[in-house]
């Protein structure tokens, strides 16, 4: 009976492992595609040919052309570079800053905790995208400014999560035991607190890649992100919005790219959460 159970568990583990590797491979494929976008484009993404404007998908232009006759497929491929890497850099930056501040606040407490948390409260009191709109409007257009605007509103959730986790972990016996074993404050944070809160923070970050891509696209859609003629999925959708009823491919192409990429990173977050749960590895001896 036990052997049968073990076999079923082993099979489930293998399936999970294959699923994780498949999703990870997909995410890496998206990243590689974005990194080498310029070599994958069938056409120059910025080359205009008004004679070929608004061609439907099929034929020479697999996903059709936009109002300036630019190849949609090429623009979507090149757009991945801006959309995906901006989102990745942004998530890496806010995750690092937010987590570092949160861990320091949770570990040290005192005035630092008070000051940072009140700042968090202020940032969280505004609806995120509205505050980002205000910051982006203040800084002017451009994908960098849009990323800074989103960064300003996004770090508090990491700080909150990391602070809460640190405060809980600080009370655990194993932290007291590590202090007894001779760990300094820095060692406690590096060896015990950070690895223990890495799971939830990484999952939040992986989920955030999708969210950030959507929000960057949102800002670009509103004209506060990437500036023309830069190919970026949000601004491409914005370009095509007036044509949606008559030439839907101009909007659907970048929309589908956003949807699929966000889906890949969300699935990756999900698989990562399962994978980081070390307790699912084995049973009691």
């Amino acid at each position: 009976m036990r052997g049968k159970m073990d076999k079923i568990l082993q099979k489930r583990k293998t399936v999970k492992e294959i699923y994780f590797i498949a999703i990870l491979a997909l995410a890496i494929l998206v990243l590689l595609g974005a990194a080498f976008a310029q070599y994958l484009c069938p056409y120059d993404p910025n080359a205009q040919d008004l004679a070929l404007a608004l061609q439907p998908p099929g034929g020479e232009h697999l996903l059709g052309t936009d109002r300036y006759g630019r190849d949609m497929l090429s623009r979507i491929i090149v757009g991945a570079k801006v959309s995906v890497f901006s989102a990745l850099t942004l998530v890496a930056a806010v995750c690092a800053v937010g987590t570092a501040l949160g861990v320091l606040c949770g570990f040290c407490g005192g005035w630092l905790d008070e000051a940072v948390m009140r700042l968090c409260d202020m940032c969280l009191a505004f609806p995120g995208l509205v505050l980002a709109l205000a910051v982006a409007a203040l800084l002017g257009g451009g994908i960098e400014n849009a990323a800074i605007a989103l960064g300003v509103v996004s770090w508090p959730k990491y700080a909150r999560l990391a602070r809460g986790q640190t405060m809980t972990l600080k009370q655990e016996d194993f932290i007291a035991a590590a202090r007894l074993a001779g760990d300094s404050a820095g060692q406690l944070i590096r060896r015990h607190i950070l690895p223990n809160l890495a799971g939830p923070v990484l999952v939040m970050a992986a989920l955030d890649i999708g969210t950030m891509m959507m929000e960057l696209a949102g800002l670009s859609f509103l004209g506060l992100g990437a500036l023309p003629p830069t190919a970026e999925w949000g601004s491409m959708m914005s370009d095509g919005r007036t044509l949606f009823q008559t030439k839907p491919w101009v909007m659907l192409g970048p929309g589908a790219a956003i949807f699929l990429t966000v889906a890949v990173f969300n699935l990756l977050a999900d698989a990562l959460r399962d994978r980081l749960d070390i307790r699912s590895m084995g049973n009691e001896m």
């Binding site: 655990e172 007894l180 060896r191 590895m281």
Partner: protein, 259 residues
């Protein structure tokens, strides 16, 4: 014989609430002192105060000397190299005293490396030798296990083994058997006795179980609401208790009779 641990008039207060009220006792090298009291009597606070592990909000007065050195008043940095080697602590729930996401071996290595300059392989060899002496089944597998993969009793035995590797002069054990079954209790008690024999360590065994203290300790200290109500040789405390509270505790020990 010189005492290895002396505690003089230890008082701990959180705001207006007094947790410990002038606790004094001393422990000789190799002695086992049983500290007995009900839940809430201040036993765990006493251990944490001895180790210097209380939160900064606690106000502590009195003196603690370990191997001739005054511990009270020492800062975190000065206490760091002393904890573990001069005085170690075994937690009530040893499973929770190991980091859940790292292997037991990695944690033992780290704790020894913090106190002694020895190679990883050397520490691992010493630990596996000790596991063998303590009759752990499949020591290598235990070394590579995560705490959640081991039973409560096994984690507790590992905590004792980890403490033994540092050869502490005094080992504080906070209710080390309260979460274990009878067999686990027996093994843990045997290993504490072995620790004393192998390292000459004094042991302070904190428990609410008078029978356990009676079985192991040479001296017993009875704590009630943070104050010492009785302190003396185990035989005298058990057979001719002076305090009414000790008599009540002894009377409350359940005896199983078959009619």
């Amino acid at each position: 014989m010189d005492e290895v641990l002396t505690c003089r008039d230890l008082q701990v207060r959180y705001g207006s609430q007094q947790i410990l009220r002038g606790v004094s006792f001393s422990v000789a090298p190799g002695e086992i002192l049983g500290i007995v009291g009900q839940s809430g009597s201040g036993k765990s606070t006493l251990l944490r105060a001895l180790m210097g592990l209380l939160e900064p909000t606690a106000s502590v007065t009195g003196e603690v000397f370990v191997a001739g050195r005054r511990w009270t008043g020492l800062g975190e940095k000065e206490l760091r190299p002393l904890r573990g080697t001069e005085m170690g602590l075994i937690f009530q729930d040893a499973g929770a005293s190991f980091c859940p996401i790292r292997t037991v071996g990695a944690q033992i290595l780290e704790s020894v490396a913090a106190h002694r300059r020895e190679g990883r392989e050397e520490v691992r060899r010493q630990a596996l030798d000790l596991f063998q002496k303590l009759r752990f089944q499949d020591g290598q597998r235990v070394w590579n296990s995560y705490p959640f993969q081991l039973s409560g009793g096994m984690n507790q035995r590992l905590a004792i083994a980890a403490a033994m590797l540092l050869h502490p002069k005094v080992l504080l054990a906070d209710e080390p058997t309260s979460a274990l079954d009878v067999m686990g209790q027996k093994q843990v008690m045997e290993e504490l006795a072995q620790l004393r024999k192998a390292c000459g360590s004094a042991v302070i065994l904190v428990t609410h179980d008078l029978r356990l203290a009676a079985a192991l300790a040479e001296n017993i200290l009875v704590l009630r609401e943070g104050a010492v109500v009785e302190y003396g040789p185990a035989d005298r405390v058990l057979q001719a208790p002076q305090a009414e509270y000790t008599r009540a505790m002894l009377a409350a020990v359940p005896r199983i009779r078959r009619d």
